[in-house]
Assembly symmetry: C2
Homo-oligomer: 226 residues x 2
């Protein structure tokens, strides 16, 4: 499988790239507006994985591309960009998407106020709804990977032992992303229903940040449903 990580030079892209890079044989296409930065990031991720496995970074299928080229070549397109770049990123890559692809949205809209972070979705009601609105109708949209601390994902020596919630209106696409998530060691994927349930899932991201801020011994928090 070819997985594009758009905005893949950021911390969510890094975390997913090194986990899939280590735990699977999928081709990882790190995307950026600047292909040179994408190639540098891809090289660094391959070195991180090789350092963990003792392998050769040149044997790893982690390469850098423009966002457009990454999306065009991949079957799974992860929008690892901040919420305010979701709309323009999808617009940039839309021509390269088709009905056999899946667009994956891990972003949550947040704002910071005196109490900490709060959920602040775009006018569409959720980031996932915005992605759905911007993505060609035939291409399924799935939400996943919101509630994973990027720093923890990127630290390959730390076992995960946490859950991610996967939601969407197209069952096949949801199942593909559930399987892809569970190929990461220590990550359990749970279904959370349709795109209409996006706000409750996206709200977990500011909640996890607040709980980490308010409790001394906790950081890079994940969540486990039990």
């Amino acid at each position: 499988m070819r997985i594009a990580l758009l905005g893949g030079t950021g911390d969510v892209g890094e975390g997913l790239a090194v986990r899939w890079g280590r735990d699977t044989d999928h081709e990882l296409l790190v995307g950026s507006r600047d292909p040179e930065r994408a190639r540098e990031a891809a090289t660094a991720y391959a070195e991180t994985v090789a350092a963990d496995t003792g392998g050769d970074p040149d044997d790893l299928a982690i390469k850098g591309f423009t966002n457009e080229m990454a999306a065009d070549r991949a079957e799974i397109v992860v929008l690892a960009v901040p919420p305010y770049h979701v709309a323009d990123t999808v617009e940039t890559v839309a021509d390269g998407l088709d009905a056999d692809d899946v667009v994956v949205t891990p972003a949550a809209g947040m704002q910071r106020d005196e109490d900490g972070f709060s959920y602040h979705p775009p006018g569409t009601g959720s980031v996932a709804a915005l992605v759905r609105e911007e993505t060609p109708d035939a291409v399924p949209v799935v939400g996943a990977f919101h509630n994973l601390a990027a720093g923890r994902l990127a630290a390959l020596d730390a076992p995960l032992g946490i859950d991610t919630l996967v939601f969407g209106d197209a069952d096949d696409a949801v199942s593909r992303i559930v399987r892809l998530a569970e190929e990461i060691d220590g990550l359990r994927a749970l279904r959370a229903g349709g795109l209409g349930n996006a706000p409750e899932v996206e709200s977990l991201t500011p909640l996890l940040i607040n709980v980490a801020r308010e409790n001394d011994d906790l950081h890079d928090l994940g969540v486990r449903f039990d």
Copy 2:
């Protein structure tokens, strides 16, 4: 400590009553609009606890009262009522509250739609904000015990091993409720900041219901932050 469970004949009241009844020596005042129903519930809860511990139900400090009388006598007043009864319940008991008491809100506003349950707070922005608005200014309000499946609380033979989030603007009051929560075996209390963070905590309740509905092996879900 005396703890009033207003609307304590419902399932959240039952769960908290039997857990505190078994794991602590606090006096539990089960409140209802109908004192006869409150007394019947209190008797049943004492029997549940005694059946678990092998003790005598008559030795347990679990008694039934009107909501007004329970709130008047207690230092901790838990609003174990549905969100749409929060305002009138607080109004009924307000005269019996003072600055040394703590009002605790575990409720979340939800509605059901085609995708499952979604967060649907009152016009104040959260149930906690509504409780704050209705409660005399001098009396601290704390949110807690939202994300506990009532059926799991009530099943005393099931170990909990889950977390509850506690939030509020008065640090002393939050600390009292954190301690009270952690007196329940297997329950860890984590701080989630001020009342302004209520929506993200209350949103967990419909999320847990959705995740339980969508995944075959999960029910009566709780959450663990890790």
